[in-house]
Structure formats: C-alpha cells, structure tokens
Symmetry: C2
Subunit: 495 residues, 2 copies
C-alpha cells in the first residue's frame, strides 16, 4: 500500500448529509408529484396558458429587497456575490421572476400574457417539521388584463385543476373576495388615510387569522392587542369598538347566496366609491362564472378570505378542501387551504414605471399532494419491476436476453446485478423492489428449456396466512417453457 493510501484513513471524511432544511425525493415521491403536475398542466394548457421556466438564479436587484411576507431587507433568500460584484440569489417564488420577465420581454410577449410555471423555489428560513428550504410551487398568472374576466378565468381553472388531480366536486370550494371591498370597509371605519397604513396592515393580518384565532382573537387584535397562550403580546390596531364593529361586520358578511352576500357588502361599504367598485367586481365575477357553469357548489363569494399579502389590489381567491382529516392529536379538522392568489397590479411597475395589471394563483404542491394521499388517491401499493434472478453467473447473457424480451414487450423488468452467490439475497432484493414476479432458471431448468415464475404478491399473501401444507404446495410458483416467458408473466400481472 502506498503512503498516499495509508494516510487516507486519517483524513476526515465528508458527512453524507442533505443540508439542513433540504430533502431528497425518491421513486414514487417523484412520480406522484409529476403525475399531479402533468394533470394540472393539461388544464392550464387547455385554458391557453403557456409554460415559462425562468432561471433559478436572479439578481437580488430584480428580486427586490423584500420577500412579500417579510419586512427585513435581504432576509429570507439564499444570496451570494458574483465576481462582477452583482448580488445574485435563488428565486423565493415564481411571481417575482414573472414580473422581471414581463418587463424584460414586454415587446415580444403576447399581451395579455397567460403563463404557468412549475418548479422549486428556495427560502432561507429556519427549517421546521414539514417546513423545507426548497419546495415546489405551481403558478398560473395572466399579465396585462385589467378585466375581472381574467380573475374569474383563474378561479374556474383552479376548480378544474383540483378536480382533474382527484379532488371530487363537493370536497373543495374556491372562495372569492375583493380587496377593494375591504378598502371600502376601512374607509367607512375611518382607516383610509396615508397615515393609517400601519393600522390597515394589522387589520388585514388579523382578519387573515380568523380561522385560527376566532372572532374574539381578531377583535383583540383590532383593539389594544392580544396575548397568546405562550404569553407573547401582539400589538393591536387600536380601533375603537365602533370601528372594530364595522370590520367584524365585513368578516361575517357571507350569506346563503352570492346575491345576498353582495347585497350585505353593498350595505357595509356605504358611500365608499372604492368599496362599491369592489362589490360590482365581485358581482361581475359571480355572473361570469355562473354563465360558464361554475356555481356555488364550486366557487363562492366569501368575505372571510383576505389573503395576508400586502400586494393584492382587487379580487383575491383561495381554494379550500372541505373534507376532514385527523390532525396529529387525532382530532378531526378540515383539510384547509391548498391554493390561493389574487390581483396585483404593481409588480411590473418596479421595473418599467408603468403599472401592468396582473392576476394569478399559486397551488401549494406539497399540500395538495398530502390531500391526495389523505383521500387515498395516491400512495397505494406500488408494483416494482419483474426481477430475473441469476442462478448461474456464467449464463448472464441468457438472463439478460430474458429481461430484454420482457422489456421489448413493454414489461418493466430487470436482471439482478449484485453478487449472485447468495440466492436469498436476490429474493430479498426482489422484495425490496416490490417486484410482482421473480424469474428463476437454474441449470436443470435451462436443460429442460423452462423457467420458474414466482408470483411474489400471491406468495406474500400465502406466507401471511397459509398452513405449512399449503406452503409446501408452493402454488405461487409455476414452471413454464422459456418460449412462453412473456405471455406467462403477462398472465400473472393480469395484463
């Protein structure tokens, strides 16, 4: 052994670890997500949306200094300085890159521009359980249309997307609201001045938490503030009781029908011009959706939805799954939100100075996958490849010919490529691969021109329940002519 080799043992070996907060996806985790996104892609395509895949890396300048929901500059992104002194960073969502593209290619893109995007985004945040620093987003946006028809279209498309991936009608609802209505309510409550921006922000975030905090919690946040269970105090908006009453009236404005909800909202916004505009937009959206066949069984007006982000300017929408699941403590609760979005008219303006109206939705890919799993739509027993075992190392060419025959017939198959000495290991391997059939050909079988097919699924069932006598009969194992390999494997696979 050379000196270089000897000293190797002293070198500290690198840790084989995914970086903290990151994860890898194996097998079905990849194919299930892909199948879901492919199905959604089909819907987006039919609606005339075109794919856009931006680079994962953006200049920090183009991304903007702020994450939409974080107030700290340069916080929340993975960034580094280029040799040209430019700061670069990984995209934290798919909307900021769209704004950049819409500005950069404004002379080449059709207007309005309907685009969808699917891919990973990165957040430099403290990782937690189920909270990763890289995750998928799936967005669809229309840039360059000020018509609420664009918002209505996105809501209809979202509804179609949920159904196509396997959420049945009745198990979801797309809730629609409009920020202008809320602004009207703020106006009525005397919160409309430029100097009231902080208060409005607190009100917005408070309403957004109504599902979690309940009416009393929200009321506390609208007033002096709220102490949570841990004792932490969150400062409130300092509204008077009368002001808070107006705001709370808005959150509970939902009525049995869309028309009644609209009527109630019209009362609430009173003489506010912006408020009345918002109510009309809601009314128009409801009419457009109705004419396309999207009734209240799929899309409803719901003033409870405000969406926390500051940048929405008009319609906002959110898809909620209404079926119940058990939470970690075994309590029943509604599955909740899987997608949301709205109209944001100022993102492109950062670059060009011109306001460009835009509206769009983002589907929470991991949330929706979890929902499909909870509904048993994915994650059932998977079937692996047929495994051709190796009884005789010198006849590898024969085994590879078998596997080629199977593959050429469209059957997923592989030959065992490990050390073939221990046959038990080969069957363990087949088990780990969730193989439905093992193909065996020893010397005796080769001389007779036959192969043994072991039905591993049936075999597992028998092993779980059979008596010794039944087991001895080995009914899960058949000997067939080599020439019939493909046909007989097909038979076992039920093809």
């Amino acid at each position: 052994m050379s000196d270089a080799k000897k000293s190797e043992g002293k070198v500290r070996r690198p840790r084989a670890e995914t970086p903290k907060g990151f994860r890898d996806y194996f097998g079905a985790e990849v194919t299930e997500r892909k199948a879901m996104l492919d199905a959604i892609t089909g819907v987006y395509h039919r609606y005339g949306f075109d794919p856009l895949e931006t680079s994962a890396v953006e200049t920090v300048e183009a991304l903007g200094k702020f994450l939409p929901d974080v107030d700290r500059p340069n916080e929340g992104v993975f960034g580094w300085q280029d040799e040209d002194a430019d700061w670069l960073a990984l995209r934290y969502d798919l909307t900021a890159p769209l704004a950049r593209v819409a500005a950069q290619f404004r002379n080449d893109l059709p207007s309005p521009y309907r685009r969808y995007a699917m891919g990973p985004v990165w957040r430099n945040e403290k990782p937690g359980p189920g909270r990763f620093r890289q995750f998928y987003q799936c967005d669809a946006d229309t840039v360059g249309s000020s018509s609420v028809a664009a918002d209505a279209e996105i809501c209809a498309m979202l509804s179609d997307a949920l159904e196509v991936v396997g959420i049945p009608r009745g198990d979801y609802v797309v809730k629609v609201n409009n920020r202008k209505v809320l602004n009207g309510v703020m106006e009525v409550a005397g919160l409309s001045g430029d100097d009231k921006e902080a208060e409005r922000g607190i009100v917005l975030r408070a309403i957004d938490k109504i599902d979690r905090l309940g009416d009393d919690g929200v009321r506390a946040l609208l007033g002096a503030g709220r102490k949570d269970e841990s004792g932490d105090f969150t400062k409130g908006a300092g509204l008077s009781d009368a002001q808070a009453e107006v705001v709370m009236g808005f959150t509970s404005a939902k009525r049995a029908s869309g028309a009644e909800t609209v009527a109630r909202l019209r009362e609430l916004v009173g003489a506010s011009v912006i408020g009345a505009e918002g109510v009309s937009e809601l009314e128009t959206m409801a009419e457009l959706l109705d004419r396309q066949g999207y009734g209240a069984d799929r899309i409803v007006l719901d003033p409870g939805v405000v969406r926390g982000l500051g940048y929405y300017t008009g319609p906002v929408y959110e898809a909620e799954l209404t079926f119940e699941i058990l939470d970690e403590k075994g309590r029943k609760r509604q599955f909740g939100s899987v997608a949301g979005g709205g109209r944001y008219d100022d993102l492109v303006k950062r670059f060009t100075g011109q306001a460009v109206p835009a509206t769009g939705v983002s589907i929470g890919v991991d949330r929706l996958l979890a929902a499909l799993r909870a509904k048993g739509r994915i994650g059932g027993a998977s079937v692996g490849p047929v495994v051709v075992t190796v009884m005789d190392r010198d006849r590898m060419a024969d085994y590879m010919a078998m596997v080629a025959d199977l593959r050429n017939a469209g059957i997923r198959a592989e030959v065992y490529l490990g050390n073939p000495k221990n046959f038990g290991n080969q069957l363990k391997y087949a088990d780990k691969r969730e193989s439905p059939v093992a193909v065996i050909q020893g010397e005796t079988e080769a001389e007779k021109g036959v192969v043994i097919l072991k039905d591993l699924i049936l075999g597992a069932k028998i092993a779980a329940s059979a008596t010794l006598e039944e087991w001895k009969d080995r009914p899960a194992q058949v000997e067939v002519p080599r020439a019939d390999l493909v046909a007989q494997v097909r038979k076992i696979l039920g093809q």
Copy 2:
C-alpha cells in the same frame, strides 16, 4: 399626487434582466424538452430505474472541492456561507449528489440501486455563446454492481433512449471502450508507476482530443508538446517515439468487427494483467449486448473513446450521432457526441471509506434537443389556442361561455382579455398566439344566434398568394349557428 409618488421618479429602477449566463425558457422550449425527457423516462422506467430528485443545494463538503474537470478548489460552483458557518453550494452535476445519497441512505436503498435523475445543474463559469451557467442534465446510474452486465445494460438503455426520442437506428452509434485496456497499454509503454500520473493524465487528455487534433496533434502532445493556431503552447507527456507508437496503436485499434478489435487489443496489451482484464470485459459486454439483440449497427467497440474525466475505472461509453449538419461556417460535419459515461468505483468511498462500484451515463439534454431540431423532429409550426374575440365588452359572459364550451370539448381556447376597443389588436393577438381559429360574434351575429369562425391558417395562406378578388370572397371565414360552435371549430381543426 402625494409626495411619496412624486419622488418615485428619482429612484433608480431595477434592471429587468436575466443574470449574465442564465436564460429563460418559453412555451415550446419547455414543452419540447419535457416531451423528450418524458420519453426517456419511459425507457428508464422499463429498465427498472427509479427516479431520484436530490436538493439543488449541497454542502460544499459533500460536493467535494473539485469539479471533475477543473483542478482549482472551490472553483466552478455557486456557493455561499450559511448562518451556521457551513458552506453551501448549488450542485454542478447529478453524480456528486448521487454519491452523497448512496452513502447517506445505504441501509435503505436496494442494492444494486438503479436510479435516474433529470434536472438543472449550475456552473460558475464564464458564460459564452450557447454556454450557460444553468443547464439540464439527464443521468442514469447503477450503484452497487461490479458486473459489466450493468455497463452493458446502460449502453442498451442509451440506445433505446435515443431511438424513442426520434434518432433512427443508423443515425447514431454507442461506442464502448475500457479504461483498463488503456491502463494496460500505458503499462506496456512504461507509464504505469505512481510517479507517472501526470504523464498519464496528459496522454488521456490527448487521446480524448483525437477527433479535433488528428493523429499528428495527438502525437505532438504525447511527445514534447504542441503549439496551437493561436501560438499557445501545451506541454506534452514527453514520451519517446517508441512509447508514443504504443499509445497511437491503441487509438487506431478499431477493426471491422468487434471480434477483430478485441484480438488487436489483446495483442497491444501484451502481458499486462490489467490490460487483459479490460479486453475480457469488453468481450463480455459485446457478448451480452449481442444476445439482447444490440449488434454493431447500434453498439460498437471503439478504442478511440476514452472520456476525459479522471474518475473512470473500467468501461466507458459515448453516444455519437453520425448524420451530418452544417456548422456555423456552412461546412458539413458530423453532429457528434450527445451522451457519455462509464464506470467509476470510488465516488461513494469519499464518504464511507468503502469502495462502491458504480456505472452510469449522462445525456446532454440541450445537445440532444438540438439534434432533434436538426432532424426536424421538433420545432415545426406550432398551433396555438382558438381565440374568442370580444366585440361587445358587455357580453363578456357570452364569450366566456363559448370558451368554456370549447375547453369542455378538449379544445384549447381562450377569450381575449385585453382592451377590446381596437378589434385589429385582437386579430394581431390571435396571430401572435399562432391561433388556428378566431371566433367573432358582434351584435348582429348575437341577434341571429350565430358566430363567425375565421380560419387563420387558411387565411394566412390566402393572404400570402391570393388576388384581390379571391381575398374579397373571404373563403376563410364562415358563419355558423352558435349551437354548432364546437362541431364547426373541430371541423376546421381537422379533428
């Protein structure tokens, strides 16, 4: 206008630019690549390979300090320091993450582990024409098998993958060689000692360039060195003429048949044990492939292929497209390499100390897409969505109902969502969208219960060649009952 608004004009706006060396992919660029990768995925799946999607971010420690083809530490990757002082970086290929995963999950993964991976990788290199800092790779590897059956399988799978995406048999060849044969030749040439590593490196890189430099160029690099056209001098390996003769004999060892090539190589490696082992491995691979039906029309032994990377230890393989294209100067040349790989037995050892045999291939996604474009397999005239125009803003619900009818029938369709005032803009939009049919319904048509369908493809043809009289007849335009919208659009689309 508020003061805040007024001062806005003075703020420097961010540049709307993709970072240097990065690019965005639009529409067909995304769907064509996806279709190609989906087809390849189908082949990989049939061969029993499972998908793996690792995180884009790795610890620098896990990636290793060296890019496989760069000798400078920390060079070539995009890296940054985490708040925990860990250095993180974007993956530069899909092999280094596989090595990390194979070590990290060695107790959970099946062994051998066949996996495929497709996704972007990042290189912090000087960008150039057609050379980007983010690009796709598409890899398939088998980890944990020392059998050359694993290498043969990858070559067969590569051949299938090329055919399934549209490279016909005869237009490509998978060339196979073995590093051990080359090591045997080095031994015969007296270049086998530990102190000769630098010389062996130069010899390897010289042979790898034989297509570009020709025999004389390689001979110069084997000897004193070579001055290129720009006057730059590359130091040679300093071999004697006799030594160089042995090496050159190897590069020209290819014969008419695999058996003859094997015989010639056996002569060349003489008494070298490692060389003889390499020749036997080549012979076995040829036999295994032959028995699966992969003859010399698809996979050939070719000692000219060495693959530049230092880490290969046994079989190496490369897929070349043999049809001719015109280069940028209008000269005919072979399309060349689109995929390559080989056996590397030491990558996992960095982490665990245990050598784990592995072999795998990487397909150059952009190269293969370019090849398919050159062959006219992709990039033909694309057909956009049917565009329903808006003649009367107040009847948007009617237009959206039309578009819903079309979509529900599986026809890609959209309503015009821009400002409808200028009808010419709507037709320009339809043109930009490559729309096959525009649907028009003004007040008159609405009263009659009809719509006008404009066949835009036929219309474009007529516009290109018609006389004024023909144009006036407007044969590319028909009036049909609203109730027949879907059926009539189908007819025009030829569905």
